[in-house]
Structures are given as C-alpha cells and as structure tokens.
Amino acid sequence: MTPQLSRLVRVAPALALVVIAAWSARRVVGAGAAVPDDAAWAEAAAEVRAAQRPGELIVFAPGWIEPVGRLHLGDRIPVDAAGRLDAARFPVIWELSVRGARAAETRGLVASHTATYRGVTVRRFDQVARTVVTDFAPLLGRAVVAGPKSGGPSLVLAEVGFEPHRCAQLTPAADQAVTLTFADVELGTELAIGVGLADVFTRRDVRDPGELAVAVDGFEVARLRVGVDDGWVRHVAVTRPGRGTVTFTARAVGLRATGRLICFAAEARQ
C-alpha cells in the first residue's frame, strides 16, 4: 500500500462518519418534503371530482395516507363503499397514491388514465363490474335465526383485519353454531362471501377461530375457517341464477371461543 493510499484509508472512517451524519440529518429533516402537501392533494382531488360518477370507487395508497385522502375526497366515499365486501361491483376505481404505492383493489388491473399532481398520482381503472342482485347483510331482518348465541346478528360497520366491513355480526356460544336462513332470495351466477373476526381486543383475548359454512338450497358451497390473524377472507362460489334459499352457519370453534364476533357479508351477483 502506498503512503498516499495508506493515509486515505486512515482518513476514510472520519470522512465516512461526517458524510453519514450529513446524509442522516438531511434525510430525516427533509423527509416531509417527499410527502405531497394539501395543495397537491387538492389538485388531484379536483380531477377526481370532475370525472367521478356515482357508484365509482375511490381508494388510496399507501394505507397510512388514507386519512389525508379522505380529508380531500371523503364526501365522495359513501360509508357503505368504504365498508365494501370487495371492489368487484364497482365499474371504475380511482386510485390516488403517493410514494409509488399501489392499492390492493387495483392489483392486476391496467390503468386507463394516469396523471400526477406534485407527487399525488391519480389512476383510473375500468373493470367489468358485477351486478349485485341480493345483498344479504341489509336483509338480516328477513333471516330465520337459530342456535345458541350471546349476541347478534346485527348489521354493523365492523373492524375486521383493521379494515372497515359492513357485515352481519353475531356471536355464537362457544363451540356452537348459529344458522341464518334467507329463504326465497334472488341468486345470480356467483355468491361472493367475505368473513372475518371483528374487534382487535376480542381477537387478542380469544384466540380460537371462527367458521362460516354457506349452503344454497341445502348444498354446501363454501366452508371458511378464519383465525385471529386472517383478516377478511373472501370466497366466490358459483351459483345457478334464480330464486333459492341460502343458509349461513357461523360457528365459534372450540370451548374457549367465547365472545367470538363473527362478521360476514355476502352478495349474490350476476
């Protein structure tokens, strides 16, 4: 090693520390500049406001920026849309994102329009929307309910997997099942089902799973077991269009499954 190189090697650690210190301060203090401000959001929101039609979904990414998105466009997001089973019934999805993030709802879709407003990217996604012929949760009053339970069923906007879901919520007794029978309902070509365990504190304290079995005219079309870390589990079953009887059987699995809040939604779609 030459003396010159040797000296450089000996100076390098000090130089590296100074450079790291400078980079560190700059990166932390300047971090906020990498997040679009309200003016940028207002510009992006203006485009969406001008183009969005009723029945079109608005989503935000990453998840942590969502409160800012709702601040600017929350009046265009009905509570029911926020608590959707999934995004299949929306013909258009507007995604507003920052920092290169993408929303789960637009995965696999191709944007038909993209524009960026000082860091807020607006993308429009068109898809073939499913037509909902029967939305089961609001029809709870028509259901015949049987089985031991400590709560419900009731129509609620519940926290499931830290996301909002409008659902029928019920609490079967431990290791018991509760059935909800919807007779003579309109069915389409598919039955979309979403189910999960509501309430973060119950999930923490009661670790046993829940289960939802779905039968159409006596034939089981789905059996979904959901654990405390599974979030909102979706399933689509094929059905024959026409009128029929749909039975949902919710079970709190295990003798320790007390207070198990099972939350489900279902839509018969065409």
């Binding site: 000090a14 300047g30 926020a82 906007l157 830290f162 973060v200």
Partner: protein
C-alpha cells in the same frame, strides 16, 4: 483551571444544558395517558409523606395500616397505582407542590415533569463522568451530547413517567458499581442507587444479570494470577476474589431492597405479599397493541428482532455508524490484548445492554413501549459512538499531518475531533429538534424519516399524547357564548382532557363526550389518534356520523397522526 475542575465544570454545564433543553422541549409535548395516572398517584404519595412528617392529626395516622392503604394500596391490583414502585411518582407530587403550588415558577404539567428532567441530567452526567474516567474528556463530551440528542430518549425525558428515570438510575447503578471495584466507598452508594432504581421501575430487577457476571469475571481474573495452579483454579480464584471484595455484592443485596422498602410504605407490612403482587402484575401484564413492520402485535410470540430493528430505526444513523465503529475498534483492541475492557467498563456496558434488551429476544415479553423499554441500553451505544468518533478523528489527524504539518500533535486531533464529533452531534441534534414534539412518530434516516417509518409499518405513536396538536383546531370549532357545548369523542386522550382544560390549552365548551359508542353518539366532534388498532374508532365514528370525511388531519412530515371529525348538520 485544573483538568479536574475543567471536567467538573463541563459536567455541570452539561447538566444545566440538559435540564434546560428537556424542560423547554416538554412544554410542547401533549400529555401521555399514563402521566395522568402517575400525577394523580404522586399527589397522594406526596401528601402522605408531608402528613407523615407534619402529623396533622386528622383521620387515621398516616403510618397506620389504614393510613398507608388509603394512600398507597388497596384490594385492587391497580389501587393507588400500587403496581408501580413509587419513587418517581412521589417526586412528581412533591415537585408539583413545590414548583407550582408553593413557588409558582412552573405550570402544573412542567412541575410534575421536572423530576424526570433532573434524572435525565443525571444520566447525561453519568455518561460524561464514566466516559471521561475510562477514556478521556473528548469521549465524555461526545458521549454525553450524543445521549442528549436522541429523539426518543429526549421525548421520554420530558414526561412524568418512569422510562427516562429508570434508564438514568440503571446507568447510575452500573457506574457506582464500576467505581466500587476500585474504591470501596462506592459500594454502599451503588446499593442505595440500585434501591432507587428498584423504586422507580421493575426493569432494575434485571441489573444483576449485568453486574453479577461482570463482577465474577473481574474478581476471578484479578485473583487468578496469584492463585496457586492446580485443579479448579478458576473456581478458587473466584472464591478468593469474592472474599476480597465481599462488600460489593453485600452492599447491593442489602441496601438495594432496604431502600426500596424505605421509600415504599406499601411494603411496610405484608411485604412479601405486596412484592409478589407487584411482580406478578408485570409477569402477567396484558399485551397492548403495537404495530411493527406492518403487523399489529398484541399476543406472543413476538418477533425476536423487535429490539434490534427498533433501535436501528430510531437512534440517529450517524450515532449508529459511529457506535458500530467504536464497538469494532474496541473489540479489535480487546482481541489483541491492548484494551482494558474489564476495567474500563466496556464489558459492563455490553452486559448491561444484553440485560436490558435480552428479555425482548424471548418473544414473550410485552413490546408495547418499544424503545422506552430498553432505553437503559442506548447510552452504552452513545458511549461506543463517542469512542468510534474519537478513534476516527485521531486516525484522520495522524494521516493529515503529511498534508498539513502544522496540525501535528494535539491541535490536529482537536480539530479532527471537533469536525467529526461536531458533525455527529449536529446531525443528531438536528434530527432531535425536528422530531419534536412528535418524537414517537419520527424514525431515523435508515427508515427514511417519519414517512419511511410509516411505509415500513412501524408504530405511529402511543399514549395518545399527540391529541394536543389538534386542540388549536378544536378551538375553532368551540361553541360561542350562550351556545350549547359541543362534546368531543376523545378515546385515548380522554384521561388528559381535564388537564388540557385546566392548563388553558382547550377552549371552553368542548367537554369529553365519554367512551366508545355511547360517547360517539353524544359527540359533536371526534378525534382519532392514528395507530393501527385505533382504526376501529374511525369506523365507529363513520357509522355514527354517516361520513368518512375528517375535517382536519394533523400530520408530522406528511404522516397523519390525529384526525378530527365533525358531525354533519342534519
């Protein structure tokens, strides 16, 4: 001025600087949920001590069974906050009576928080004293300043809580113990300080896991050379070493528990049962929700790397880099036999870090407080950073002499140390200032700052303290004179609501609406403090208000920390 007096003057200046910075900074920090509990308990404890000393004769005698139970305990596991030792709470209460009630020199909140600031200053002084004694003045100053410039630690140093103080007393215990190895007079001091640490927080129970192996290693190693060769020589050396320094463990084992009992009247009767209840509470502590790398963790097993990753993304990156260098240099020198790792305390600090962080590798220890739970380990990191920085500066100075001959000797080293150390301190100071007053939302450059931390799915905050940031906005929503009140759903800021009102931070006419669905139903305004598991409050509000649109979102570096909703007009 002699070198000794210069050192003392610098130490004193660092203490004054720390108290000033901490007290000024905390004025902007909202009230943490637990602070309210500790303040209330502290008022009771302080009153009890004053009554016990004065003996005003009203009610049961303070030192009677009933008198002690009425102020310090009760049948419930959390009666009078008996699940936590009382030292800091007592100081909070006494400080409030002195600084606010008597002298009227501080606000309610500042008066309660002042003892924590004092303990922070003591920690900075201990870091300085230790590093100076073991390594040198430059190392001491740098280590102290880097410890002061930790965003999260400074945040905790401004709260009427226990996490800053236990870190201070943990380190102070180690320092006193370390000094006792060369001067016996420090041994009883170490025992007393450990007792104070025990009376601050149960973390202090882990200190023997650092001290015992270190003590065994030191006394064995020192006695080994003079122990006759033969079977079990190491064991015989250990026995001789223990016999020679019997006073060190004796002081700790005797004085520590005695001090704990002395300052905690609840232990003056049914001592074993009350200690068992205290420890059982923490061994069976409920797991609060905590977001880590995108997952909401509230049930073991937890990832083994929580302490490591959290430290890597919360300590300023410059400090981390210098610490890695310092550790490397120190380890290499030890390996080559030049370092006095046993006597300079380096080994002790490593063991201390292990004892402090170790439980969090088990996967079962509650993680909800993140870095505050192992804050005792971080000053060791700052000392290592100081060693790394000064080593790099000396190496650079030696090399620069060839290009700049006038920099030969102490001048060159001084300049290089100022440049390198100054850059590190300035960087850490800038990050700490920037993090204020939302330090629990801030993350370092490795994470990419606060937005990077949010991208990683790291915890946004806890304790609900950020609610203070929306009080000015809520003020704009307050009813005018003669108009009905507009109740606010405050969820986890609820315990602090009265204190905000008392301190004049909350406009009139904005009472707390109450808890959960009933509170939301009564409310006209609602706040949501953004943590992953608090999303349920958003959803409850949406269902009640019929809208998902907040009217205000408080952000730190663009990251939402508190939203405010207003019930739409019918």
């Amino acid at each position: 001025m002699s070198a000794r007096w210069l050192t003392r003057a610098i130490g004193a200046a660092l203490m004054v600087l720390t108290i000033a910075v901490t007290l000024v900074a905390q004025r902007d920090v909202g009230l943490a949920r637990d602070e309210i509990v500790y303040m209330g308990a502290g008022d009771g404890y302080a009153t009890w001590w004053l009554d016990a000393i004065d003996g005003d004769g009203k009610g049961p005698a303070p030192t009677s069974h009933a008198g002690i139970t009425g102020a310090w305990g009760g049948p419930g596991a959390t009666d009078h906050n008996r699940e936590h030792p009382p030292l800091m709470k007592t100081l909070f209460g006494l400080s409030h009576k002195l600084l606010h009630d008597e002298l009227e020199v501080a606000s309610h909140t500042t008066a309660y928080r002042a003892p924590t600031a004092l303990l922070q200053a003591i920690m900075i002084l201990v870091v300085f004293a230790w590093a100076v004694a073991a390594w040198g003045l430059a190392e001491g100053v740098l280590a102290a300043l880097l410890t002061l410039c930790l965003p999260r630690a400074l945040f905790h140093a401004g709260l009427a809580c226990f996490d800053g103080p236990i870190a201070s007393l943990w380190l102070a215990t180690l320092y006193c113990y370390w000094r006792s190895l060369s001067r016996w007079g420090w041994a009883p001091i170490a025992g007393v300080v450990w007792g104070l640490a025990l009376a601050t927080k149960h973390n202090a129970l882990l200190l023997p896991f650092a001290i015992a192996p270190h003590f065994a290693w030191v006394v064995t190693r020192q006695a080994y050379a003079t122990t006759a060769a033969g079977r079990v020589r190491w064991l015989r050396a250990l026995g001789r070493g223990l016999a020679a320094r019997w006073y060190v463990p004796t002081a700790l084992v005797v004085l520590g528990p005695l001090v704990l009992i002395a300052v905690w009247p609840w232990l003056w009767f049914d001592t074993v049962a009350h200690i068992r209840a205290w420890l059982t509470f923490h061994l069976r502590h409920v797991h609060y929700n905590f977001e880590y790398l995108g997952d909401n963790l509230n049930h073991p097993p937890f990832p083994w790397h929580v302490a490591l990753v959290t430290t890597l993304v919360t300590v300023p990156a410059g400090t981390l880099a210098a610490a890695a260098l310092g550790l490397g240099v120190h380890a290499r020198a030890w390996w080559r036999g030049r370092a006095t790792v046993t006597t300079d305390g380096g080994l002790l600090l490593v063991l201390s870090s292990g004892a402090s962080m170790g439980p969090f590798f088990l996967g079962s220890t509650p993680i909800f407080g993140a870095e505050k739970h192992w804050e005792s380990a971080i000053p060791a990191l700052c000392i290592a950073a100081a060693l790394g920085a000064t080593w790099a500066a000396r190496a650079a100075a030696a090399a620069l002499v060839a290009w700049w001959p006038r920099a030969r000797g102490r001048l060159g080293v001084a300049i290089a140390t100022i440049v390198v150390g100054g850059a590190l301190v300035a960087s850490a100071a800038a990050e700490t200032a920037h993090a204020h007053p939302y330090a629990l939302t801030s993350y370092n450059a490795v994470a990419g700052g606060a937005p990077g931390g949010a991208d990683l799915g790291m915890n946004r905050q806890f304790w609900g303290y950020a609610a203070r940031g929306v009080l000015p906005f809520l003020g704009t929503q307050a009813p005018g004179p003669g108009q009905p009140a507009r109740p606010v759903y405050t969820h986890d800021a609820s315990p602090a609501w009265g204190a905000y009102r008392r301190d004049g931070l909350l406009a009139p006419g904005l009472p707390d609406a109450g808890h959960e669905d009933g509170g939301i139903a009564r409310s006209q305004l609602a706040i949501v403090i953004h943590e992953k598991h608090f999303r349920r409050h958003d959803f409850m509000i949406w269902a009640s208000y019929g809208t998902v649109q907040p009217v205000f979102v408080l952000r730190f570096d663009g990251v939402p920390i508190v939203s405010v909703y207003r019930r739409p007009a019918k």
